[in-house]
Amino acid sequence: MRYVVKKLITLIMTLFLVSAAAFLAFQVIPGDVVTSILGTEATPEREEQLREELGLNDPPVTRYLNWMGGVLRGDLGVSYRYSKNMNEMMPVTELIGDKMPVTLWLAALSLVLIVALSIPLGVIWARSKSHFLDAAFGVATQTAMAIPSFFLGILVTYLFGIVFRMFAPGGYVSYKEDFGAFLGYLLFPALSLAIPKIAMTARFLRNSMLTELGADYVRTAYGKGCTRRRVMYGHVLRNALMPVVTFLGMIIAEIVAGSIVIEQVFALPGIGRLLISSISNRDLPVVEILILYITFVVIFVYFLVDILYRVIDPRISGK
């Protein structure tokens, strides 16, 4: 319990650091925000007014504190780029709000696919005695790991979308309209995202199992009269899965990164696309919030993995 509290404090501290770093980093960007919003033909008075409105005249520290204070109250600021109408600016909250679930569902679906497919594959691979099967697994995983997910996405689009017509490329259905159809569409991007990671994880698990199979306690188990099957599932698997949990935790950061690219491939309106467009539009409030948000997700997942690891590995938690 004390450990959890300690970890939580570190987590919050890291978030503050990242927020400060993100905020300050964008202060050094060349180019004036106001000109980019109003264009070059605005009057100096109008420019000055907007500057005051956005708080750009304050020193950076004050601006950071104001911004952070807002974030803590749930006010994420306004977008420089998008506006609701002529007079009202677009709050970042609204901009992000309906895009977040798309990305989260995509990441979650990929993770489910990875866990559900890689573990059985890894176990079958580790158990396979046939030389041919072993080599086939080896070649298949090496190849799958070499395919970048966006190319995989294009292949999936071509194969399942254009050749087999199993889904309509670009025919995204919002989760608000039809959740089933939403998930159905999401399956293909999730698959493109998951396949290289499935290969990686299966490989990792298989190697971990082979290492464990050479351990002394396996000999002890055989010495008791255990069958090969019992040794595998009763002793080896659990031990071999421990490092896989950490590995999966690390993969989550990659899934988040991958989903940014995959959203582009499948034209999904998630935060990844928003981030890319905000970066090219220099829509800084949006970029800052997105960075903070993604950092939060990643760190929080690490935190969960860490706790989970303590729960399942008695060597760490048993003290």
């Binding site: 002890t220 010495g223 008791k224 009269g225 008695p314």
Partner: protein
């Protein structure tokens, strides 16, 4: 009755066990003795049906009560073996930590034997396991039942292993170096327990060890193995008294033992100044790491050590693992900074020889480079002592010959050398700058007995030649007896007793010293 008839086992076509004939009589303890690589473990694993699939039985067979368990030219019958393993035959291994599943409670691991071989209910099984735990001397058996291996001490883990092995009263118990990883006092407790079980359960025991003294203490009969063959077998006392084979005789002679007279003459030069003087030395360690949240605790691991070592003198430091021997040695050499007290060196550049010859030589370098490095380092520190490349090479060759190694090893890497050869190079590297004082931390513990004897002999020769002062650390009081003029006994960070060798061995003052002497 178990018989191994003409058994040969090969890995990749190379035979590691050659035409072995062994007979295990009911209720006896047979010692299988040999140095590393002699094939004794492979023999035991083959007998147990636990040898890896890469092994091939090329001749002979194994009989268990007239049932042929294994025969050359026939694949291993796993299901036949499973009926015996854990039930009629079981095994205890050297490393109880790695031999137990790290993520399963030990109670459940012992329980599995009952689940596999009996039809008992869970409650009955639990009762049996708890009874067994008590019988092998584990107190608080309920707590032990629910523990994971890492929560138990080494001795307790080995007791759990024993409980697992004997819970079904197997006919055959194979113990493969069951005490090698343990401290001497624990060692003798475990040996006592095994003997007690043997008397109670009347099982046949195959006791495998590299330690002749140990074999002598527990076994009625002994078989000596070398290079995959049994070179001699017979009654223990007969073998010790009248070894028939040259190899057996050499093996027995190599074992450091208090019974034999010590050949080394005392040559300490106590008239002059001591080579090293230690006064009121305490050593501290930081606990708890560098975390932001936990306060560091400074723990005293050595307290108030005082001694002198004179040129040409060997002082032994004996104690169990964790008593602070190594911390003291490092502090004497200035490798531990957090100390109080005083260490005065009157010789130049004292050096250290480590236990593990595999980790004390840089694997990326050649022997020649390693031997020259101390000279190069000295040259870089002190211009006046700088030597030319040729001089250094000459000196390195010279030193290599002096530790009894051929010139051709000059360009080899440590991985191409045997353990004994590495320890020789290690000694050569320590001595090439002619230091007056050497700390040797368990320099022979990782070596086979015959090699052990050679290395100790070499160290004594070099001591005479170079007037070296040794601080010789060992857990093995017999090794210290052979090497040292004066002995210090250490326990829980304090030197509790010190004196001349004869004093310590013949008239120990402390109960702990007496116990150490009894147990080894």
């Amino acid at each position: 009755m178990i018989r191994l008839e003409d058994l040969s086992v090969a890995f990749d076509g190379a035979e590691v066990v050659k035409n072995i004939n062994l007979e295990l009589r009911d209720g006896e303890i047979l010692g299988l003795v040999g140095e590393s690589g002699s094939g004794k473990s492979v023999t035991a694993l083959t007998l147990m049906g636990l040898v890896s699939d890469a092994a091939q039985v090329t001749s002979g067979r194994i009989l268990f009560d007239d049932v042929t368990l294994l025969e050359a030219g026939r694949p291993r019958d796993r299901s036949l073996y499973r009926g015996y393993q854990g039930n009629k035959m079981s095994m205890i291994f050297q490393e109880p930590m790695t031999s137990l599943n790290p993520t399963q409670r030990v109670g459940k691991q012992v329980d599995e034997v009952l689940r596999l071989h009996t039809g008992l209910s869970p409650e009955e099984r639990r009762k049996r396991v708890l009874e067994m735990f008590r019988a092998v001397g584990l107190r608080e058996e309920e707590k032990v039942y629910a523990s994971y291996p890492h929560q138990l001490s080494g001795g307790m883990r080995q007791r759990v292993m024993i409980a697992m092995a004997v819970i079904l009263h197997p006919r055959l118990l194979v113990a493969d170096e069951p005490t090698t990883a343990l401290d001497v006092t624990i060692q003798s407790q475990i040996i006592g327990l095994l003997r007690e079980i043997n008397e109670k359960q009347k099982n046949t025991m195959l006791f495998i060890t590299h330690d002749l003294n140990l074999a002598r203490r527990i076994c009625r009969r002994i078989a000596v193995m070398k290079d995959g063959r049994v070179v001699e077998q017979g009654d223990t006392e007969q073998i010790f008294g009248h070894p028939a084979r040259e190899y057996t005789r050499k093996l027995i002679e190599a074992v450091p033992s208090r019974i034999k007279t010590n050949k080394a003459a005392r040559m300490a030069d106590t008239a002059g100044e001591p080579a090293v003087q230690v006064r009121d030395l305490s050593v501290f360690y930081q606990d708890g790491g560098n975390s932001l949240f936990s306060r560091n605790r400074r723990r005293c691991v050595v307290e108030g050590a005082e001694f002198d070592i004179y040129p040409g003198e060997s002082v032994g430091l004996v104690g169990e693992s964790g008593c602070g021997k190594t911390s003291l040695a490092r502090a004497v050499l200035g490798m531990n900074r957090d100390i109080t007290g005083q260490v005065v060196h009157r010789t130049m550049g004292p050096q250290m020889i480590f236990q593990d010859p595999y980790s004390s030589l840089n694997p990326a370098k050649t022997v020649g480079w390693l031997l020259q490095e101390p000279l190069r380092a000295r040259g870089l520190l002190d211009r006046e002592k700088a030597m030319t490349g040729e001089e250094m090479e000459e000196a390195a060759y010279e030193m290599l010959r002096r530790v009894g190694m051929d010139d051709l090893y000059f360009h080899r890497r440590p991985s191409q050398l045997s353990g004994g050869q590495r320890q020789r190079v290690s000694i050569a590297q320590a001595l090439i700058t002619h230091p007056g004082f050497i700390v040797a931390d368990e320099p022979v513990s990782a070596l086979d007995v015959t090699i052990q004897a050679q290395i100790m002999e070499l160290m004594q020769e070099l001591q005479q030649e170079m007037k070296l002062a040794y601080l010789f650390i060992s857990h093995d009081i017999n090794v210290v007896y052979r090497m040292c003029d004066r002995i210090m006994v250490m326990r829980k960070g304090r030197i509790i007793e010190s004196g001349d060798r004869s004093e310590i061995f013949e008239d120990p003052k402390e109960e702990y010293t007496r116990q150490l002497l009894r147990d080894s």
